[in-house]
């Protein structure tokens, strides 16, 4: 089975809260002292693919859409023994999910036939959680979301996918090819690479394609949506004393004040 795993590089979501700043003009998070890391759900997706390959065989191709520096997350995937890696170079920092989905779809088509595309359920930076679904749409294949694992099916050309729901889990069987968005689970905790494989990952080939090579117009990076305003929410507390002559009058005034507040929300 050919599995493609989409991997996104994001700003480390675990930096101390007080170190986190946003640029309200550019509407993006400031890099500051934070490092760039692999999105955790993408790591879960890669782990799921690695486990499937260990049990069933097949080939894993890692793909990322991002700037030159995103090579790092693909090198990590190679260190974990992904077979191939492709970087689609895109310098636009806040490309919207539709643009990313179109770009990834073009890249995946160029890679060749696939059976399953695994993506993280959402990214730890914007948390939009849309790329997977939109990617399935672009590739015109079914999509299963919030999956925790991937199993072979007795039927050929099909897989079984266990997905989490609000009330429990579902086990679905689907024809391939398909897109699966992966969530975290105790069974897909990302492994760490062996140092020897890390060293060798730098010697492995890594394909880079430009947007132009894929026929994608970079000016459409924010045609689906753009961020209008970006700020860190402030917790504000206001203190107000309710006045009244008697306790009942105070309670009455309090109740009115609360209902006023609720109406204005």
């Amino acid at each position: 089975m050919n599995i493609v795993v989409c991997i996104k590089q994001i700003l480390d979501p675990e930096i101390p809260a007080r170190d986190f700043r946003v640029d309200s003009v550019k509407c993006e998070a400031e890099r500051g002292s934070a490092n760039l890391v692999t999105n955790i759900f993408c790591e879960n997706a890669l782990e799921t693919a690695l486990q499937f390959r260990e049990a069933q065989g097949g080939k894993i191709t890692a793909i990322s859409c991002g700037p030159e520096g995103a090579e790092d997350v693909l090198r990590k995937a190679l260190a974990l023994k992904a077979d191939d890696a492709v970087l689609v170079l895109n310098e636009a920092p806040n490309a919207d999910p539709l643009f990313v989905a179109k770009t990834l779809a073009a890249g995946i088509r160029k890679i060749g036939p696939f059976d399953a595309v695994l993506v993280g359920r959402e990214a730890g930076d914007w948390g939009a959680g849309q790329t997977g679904g939109l990617l399935a749409e672009e590739l015109q294949v079914p999509c299963i979301s919030f999956a925790e694992n991937l199993q072979p099916s007795a039927a050929s050309g099909a897989v079984k996918v266990k997905r989490q729901t609000d009330s429990g889990w579902e086990l679905l069987e689907s024809a391939t090819p398909l897109v699966i968005t992966i969530t975290n689970h105790e069974k897909n905790v990302p492994r760490i690479p062996k140092t020897r494989d890390v060293m060798q990952s730098y010697r492995k080939p890594l394909v880079k394609w430009t947007l132009a090579e894929l026929g994608i117009d970079p000016s459409t990076a924010n045609s689906y949506y753009r961020v209008a305003e970006l700020f860190i929410p402030r917790k504000e507390t206001q203190c107000e004393f309710i006045s009244g002559d008697t306790l009942e009058a105070k309670i009455d005034a309090f109740a009115h004040r609360v209902t006023d507040c609720m109406r204005s929300m």
């Binding site: 675990e14 170190d19 002292s33």
Partner: protein, 680 residues
């Protein structure tokens, strides 16, 4: 009485067929030589390593630790019994050589006062001392039975053999004195006792017969022992001396080897093939005394780690005839189990305790290197700490602090802003990112400021020195961090570094030179003691609290710094610190080294709680520390053990700042960091 100038005795009295002795010597020497040759062949299979530089220092070590037995003496009972046997045998060997010179070389030296004082009296007394030593060893091995010893038939056999050789020696001496009516018999007091006891019981003829039989028995025992020794732990007579000669000359903190990642076929070690000849010699040098395991903090709290058994199990593997050196030893025995490898705090107590300079701890780290780098197999929480070091430059995942939060309200500049800074204050991850330790670095910064030191920090440019990565076994990550940090330090042309973390201190002092980073490095206790000595700081209001001092392993044992922190306690309290039952080079680890502070130990096997017991036993008000890891480990340990007692853990810098600060006008502003709670 005749003239003492003429005193001597007849060599080989009562013995005929002397040629038989020489004939027996041939197989004896051949067997012994073959035993040694077999060991040498094993060492030759090891990797190369240069341990023959600086010969004068090495000879000095042999004199100190082999001849004078300074480390063996640290334990009085076994130390004295061993010294008696050891020195007894040295003297007896010299005496036998004197006989050889007299008889075989025909040089008459066994005469006169030399014969009386040395050949008779001293030899006799030392022979008796060796007998007493053997008796004490027997009492220990068969009656007291301490757990640290290894109970083998071989070990018992050695004691019995030595006893038999010595006692037969006294018997033949006694019968010769009695039968020949030796006028100089009294110069051999113990032999003379045998003579006196035999005279009323035996005829001269009977004594001559007994002498003849016992003489040959004595000879056969001695030759047999010589032939057998190289195949037993008695080989230590040679191997331990060699091991002491080739021991590490650098401090324990500089003991880990660099890996050449370009050339290494395997990262870390999991089979005998990975060890150097010196490692293989280590195995053969072991005398099975068990002192390493007896001082191992992990072993003491009930974990499986036993440095002695690691060495002995590896030795056993190295002695398998035509053994496969490429076969993995990991997990083959309990001592070599993966579990044991992840229990070591790298405190170095085993290395320090070994009387014959075996390096146990580095072998554990070598094995960890294999597990981490070739097998990606390590405890999950350690793994998380390393991932954090890799991505964020510090091991404290989830910290709410940045590297500069602790400076709030203080006048601390970064190297980027203070180009005239003479001293880099290396804060360390433990100092900057763990709330309790922020108070320590605040105290230290204020002391430096008060003393007028031009210092600066790296701030956000500071990264983990790599100590936890190296000790956990990720040498690759350590090397990356070392190179990055050295580049940063060199960019600012840093010459002098002061740090309150002994782990960072050790890394700068002993490990970065391997990568070309050479700096003048001070632990803050050394630097503060220097400032006090220069009159730049004075303690005007010393505390009246009773203080004990906990030696951090990476400051004390690993680097030999014991005096400076005690001096600070003395200055801050006007009293010497109370010493715990284990202190200085014999100090007991807090449990946090070697990446162990990133592991959740089983509740009934916590090293820090055992140390807390020792602290509480001193009845001190404060335990002074000099390490951010000791700080958190001991606070946890004491909180678990103290009951309703109020015992505090304080860094030596905090103690000094309290004593200095109260006299000045800047009091009060030192605690502002406590008010800056994280805004989430």
């Amino acid at each position: 009485m005749s003239d003492p100038q003429l005193a001597t005795r007849e060599v080989l009295w009562n013995i005929s067929h002397v040629w038989l002795m020489y004939a027996l010597l041939v197989p004896t020497v051949a067997t012994a030589a073959y035993g040694i040759y077999r060991r040498v062949q094993v060492w030759r299979r090891g990797q190369a390593e240069n341990r023959f530089d600086r010969p004068l220092e090495r000879i000095g070590l042999v004199l100190k630790y082999a001849l004078l037995q300074l480390r063996t003496w640290r334990k009085l009972y076994p130390g004295s019994l061993h010294a008696m046997i050891f020195w007894g045998f040295i003297v007896l060997t010299v005496a036998t050589t004197v006989v050889m010179i007299e008889y075989d070389f025909g040089i008459p030296i066994m005469h006169g006062y030399f014969y009386l004082y040395f050949q008779s009296f001293i030899t006799d007394v030392f022979g008796a001392l060796a007998m007493i030593g053997v008796g004490m060893a027997g009492a220990r091995r068969w009656i007291v039975r301490p757990t640290q010893l290894v109970y083998t038939g071989e070990a018992s056999g050695i004691l019995v053999a030595i006893f038999a050789i010595l006692s037969s020696g006294f018997l033949i001496e006694g019968w010769r004195i009695a039968a020949t009516n030796d006028p100089w018999g009294a110069w051999s007091p113990f032999g003379n006792l045998v003579a006196a006891a035999s005279r009323p019981l035996m005829s001269v003829e009977a004594m001559k017969t007994a002498h003849l039989a016992t003489w040959w028995t004595h000879l056969l025992l001695a030759f047999g022992f010589i032939a057998w020794a190289p195949y037993t732990k008695m080989a230590h007579v040679i191997t331990s001396t060699l091991n002491i000669y080739t021991s590490r000359l650098a401090p324990i903190g500089a003991t880990l080897r660099k890996i050449d990642f370009e050339k290494a076929e395997k990262l870390g070690i999991n089979s005998l093939a990975g060890f150097t000849w010196k490692d293989l010699l280590d195995f053969d040098a072991c005398t099975e005394c068990g002192r390493c395991t007896a001082v191992c903090p992990a072993n003491l709290v009930g974990k499986v780690l036993s440095p002695r058994d690691i060495i002995l199990d590896l030795r056993k593997l190295s002695r398998v005839p035509r053994g496969d050196f490429a076969q993995s030893y990991v997990g083959t025995t309990q001592a070599l189990s993966i579990e044991a490898m992840w229990e070591c705090t790298t405190c170095g107590a085993c290395v320090e305790a070994c009387p014959v300079s075996i390096e146990q701890m580095p072998k554990i780290v070598d094995t960890r290197r294999y597990l981490v780098m070739e097998d990606a197999q390590l405890p999950e929480t350690m793994q998380q700490a390393l991932v954090s070091v890799e991505t964020r430059g510090h091991p404290f995942r989830g910290t709410v602090f940045s590297r500069v939060d602790w400076t709030a309200g203080l006048n601390v500049s970064t190297m980027a802003d203070a180009l005239d800074a003479e001293v880099l204050l290396w804060v360390g991850c433990g100092g900057a990112l763990v709330e309790r330790n922020q108070k320590v670095v605040r105290s230290l910064a204020q002391l430096l400021e008060k003393a007028g030191v031009k210092f600066a920090i790296l701030g956000r440019e500071e990264k983990c020195t790599g100590d936890p990565a190296r000790r956990i076994g990720n040498e690759f990550l350590f090397e990356q961090l070392a190179q990055e940090n050295i580049a940063t330090l060199n960019r600012y042309q840093v010459k002098k570094i002061v740090t309150s973390c002994p782990h960072c201190f050790n890394t700068f002092r002993n490990e970065y030179p391997q990568f070309g980073g050479r700096y003048e490095v001070y632990h803050h206790s050394e630097y503060l003691a220097k400032l006090v000595g220069e009159g730049k700081l004075s303690a005007r209001t010393p505390s009246d609290k009773k203080v004990t001092f906990h030696d951090p392993c990476y400051l004390g044992r690993h680097n030999g710094v014991y005096a400076a922190p005690r001096q600070l306690v003395q200055i801050s309290t006007r009293a010497e610190p109370i010493e715990m039952e284990q202190s200085r080079s014999n100090s007991f680890c807090c449990g946090g080294g070697g990446g162990m502070s990133f592991i959740d130990e089983p509740p009934n096997q916590r090293v820090n709680q055992e140390r807390a017991r020792q602290i509480l036993a001193t009845d001190a008000d404060v335990v002074a520390v000099g390490c951010p890891f000791c700080m958190t480990m001991l606070e946890d340990g004491i909180n678990a053990r103290r009951g309703d007692r109020d015992t505090k853990v304080m860094d030596v810098a905090e103690l000094l700042w309290q004593a200095v600060e109260h006299a000045s006008s800047s009091g009060g502003r030192g605690d502002r960091a406590e008010n800056t709670k994280p805004e989430i």
